[in-house]
């Protein structure tokens, strides 16, 4: 078991290395080098100063040396210096990352909770009005852009009804106690997490319904019924547990998309995560920051993917045997 865990985690390394190389290629694709942007922003025009900076940043060396240096520095978690925030890129990203991770986790929970419940309900009441209503809702939420859903929810629940705050992560000046703070963050989290989660909930509902119906036909379900288990127990403990496997696969595949989606949702709800940071950096052509977000985002997804795979191992003992 430990060996499997280690081997799976070891697969993350070449992936991250490839992302770093890709990053480097992207930097060199940019019209006007990173260096030009940097010096333009700080309005440096003195030739002697430029030469000195060129040497400091290693721009005068051959490309492969630059690549080797870049890989080496990213390996030491040195993603460069953001001249805009006047702080190392890594520190700035690490400051913002927790908010994004909270949003992602909350959205995933919403998606799983709503999607799985809807899917189970639709499969238990297959071909009834419930099933049709759930399928219809799934089709609609699957087509709605999450940012638009977020705006419409803001209009209804924040502007018209006033139930939830319009944006942000905390109420300004409310800070008293960790518990009150957590409640406050949760209150701010409801709308963004729902807006982001409903799209995935729609997918999960459809997959869960299909996979439940598939499992319902299997022999062991008949056995469970025959030995006199209550219908609820058959559905929850026997069918649902097996039907969940495709959902776990899907979850692993979609983590990158969820991270991308949270970038847009953060812009809608002014959530202070790496989305806002990325947006600001893209706008100001702050390339070290943009590429730093790309590397750390990919690392996050790669690690999360490995975790989901290991979770799969735990859920389905048949895989372990191989």
């Amino acid at each position: 078991m430990n060996r499997i865990v280690l081997r799976r985690l070891a697969q993350v390394i070449p992936l991250v290395l490839a992302v770093i190389v890709l990053n480097f290629v992207l930097i060199h694709l940019a019209p006007g080098s990173l260096f030009d942007v940097m010096t333009a922003e700080q309005q440096i025009s003195d030739p002697a100063m430029l030469d000195q900076l060129r040497h400091t940043y290693g721009v005068d060396q051959p490309t492969w040396v630059q690549l080797a240096k870049y890989i080496w520095s990213v390996m030491r978690l040195d993603l460069g210096f953001s001249y805009r925030q006047n702080a190392p890129v890594l520190n700035v990203i690490m400051d913002q990352l927790p908010a994004t991770v909270i949003l992602m986790l909350a959205a995933t929970s919403v998606a799983l909770l709503v999607g799985v419940t809807a899917g189970v309900l639709a499969s238990v009441r297959v071909n009834t009005i419930w099933d049709n209503l759930i399928s219809l809702a799934a089709v609609f939420f699957f087509a709605a852009p999450s940012f638009w859903l977020g705006i419409m929810m803001t209009v209804l629940f924040a502007v018209k009804l006033g139930w939830f705050p319009v944006g942000g992560m905390r109420t300004i000046g409310a800070g008293n106690g960790a518990f009150a703070d957590a409640l406050d963050v949760m209150h701010h989290l409801v709308l963004p997490a729902t807006a982001l989660g409903l799209f995935y909930a729609a997918t999960y509902a459809r997959v869960m319904r299909a996979s439940m119906l598939e499992v319902f036909r299997l022999d062991f379900v008949r056995t469970a019924r025959a030995k006199g288990l209550s219908p609820a127990r058959v559905v929850l403990a026997h069918v649902m547990r097996n039907a969940l496997l495709p959902i776990v696969t899907l979850l692993g595949l979609q983590l990158g998309t969820i991270l991308g989606g949270s970038v847009v949702i953060e812009a809608v709800f002014s959530w202070p995560g790496i989305g806002s940071l990325l947006f600001d950096s893209v706008m100001s052509r702050n390339f070290p920051m943009v590429l730093g977000v790309l590397v750390l985002g990919s690392l996050l997804v790669a690690v999360a993917n490995a975790t989901v795979d290991l979770l799969y191992l735990r859920l389905d003992p048949r895989i372990r045997a191989r």
């Binding site: 694709l29 709605a144 705006i151 419409m152 299909a210 847009v264 947006f279 950096s281």
Partner: protein, 281 residues
């Protein structure tokens, strides 16, 4: 051939929802094509008082936005942008996906291993972040947005093509072609690809829907091409006015939703018509 087409149409039409979707797609295409005749002048031009609600003034059936531009005109021209980007991005993704998937499966061995790792790499990179990175580096042009969206959406197509090619590459007819001395490229493109294509077409049609969503997100963030009217950008522009004129966001959002919905339904219908074996599942 005609018989095949009729058979195909009949199977497609059996799925009612797909017919509704097809109708919607035709309407959107019609609006996109007719936009220059319906609204002969520049859609980004200011026409009247700002923030006229829909259905109030008959000259501006969908109202005007915060600058006083005609929303109906921008929606019509936005349909062109959306469909064009969706179609081209899906085409890009399909080309990359088929190339990678077909090569990997046909040659196998280390080429397969390498290309699949490459695919995995693109699956790991958070797709929207990658699109934004590319657009920020190459510039805010409609071509770059299209290419960027194509680059992040090809992975499922590659995996599907690979699976289809794997199933076909050792079949008798392919071996016969090899025995006849046909070149690899000719076997791949002329013999295997036509047989592998139906499920790939279904997936490509679904990728169009995904591409439309991506494009709308990029232009919503204000990183799309500033010189073309786009549904996503209209939502982004109207966002500051949600307290008074939320319809500016609602109308283009509905347009995106209906288009994506219709494309998804058509994709499902194509799936039924092209993969009759899977239909009863």
């Amino acid at each position: 051939m005609l018989g095949l087409a009729i058979d195909f149409a009949r199977r497609f039409a059996r799925n009612r929802a797909a017919l509704v979707g097809l109708l919607l797609v035709i309407v959107v295409i019609g609006v996109a094509v007719a936009a220059p005749w319906l609204f002969p002048r520049n859609p980004l031009r200011i026409v009247g008082r700002p923030e006229i609600w829909p259905f109030v003034n008959s000259r501006y059936p969908l109202g005007t936005d915060s600058l006083g531009r005609d929303i109906a005109a921008m929606i019509a021209y936005g349909a062109r942008t959306t469909l064009l980007i969706g179609l081209c991005a899906s085409l890009t993704a399909t080309l990359i996906g088929i190339t990678v998937g077909a090569t990997a499966a046909y040659f196998g061995g280390w080429i397969d291993e390498m290309l699949m790792r490459f695919t995995e790499l693109f699956q790991t990179i958070p797709n929207l972040i990658f699109v934004l990175t590319i657009v920020s580096i190459l510039g805010q042009k409609i071509e770059y947005v299209t290419i960027a969206v194509g680059i992040v959406t090809w992975t499922p197509i590659a995996r599907l093509t690979r699976a289809e090619f794997m199933a076909l590459r050792d079949r008798e007819f392919v071996q016969a072609c090899r025995a006849m001395g046909m070149g690899n490229l000719r076997i791949m493109l002329g013999e295997i690809l036509p047989n592998a294509l139906p499920p790939v077409i279904v997936l490509s049609s679904l990728v169009i829907a995904g591409a439309v969503l991506f494009e709308s997100a990029v232009s919503f963030l204000g990183l799309g091409d500033p010189n073309v009217s786009s549904w996503g950008r209209l939502i982004g522009d109207g966002r500051t006015l949600i307290r008074t004129s939320w319809y500016i966001c609602a109308v283009p959002g509905l347009a995106i939703m209906l288009t994506v919905l219709a494309l998804n339904l058509v994709g499902d219908g194509l799936n039924d018509a092209l993969n009759p074996k899977l239909r009863d599942r």
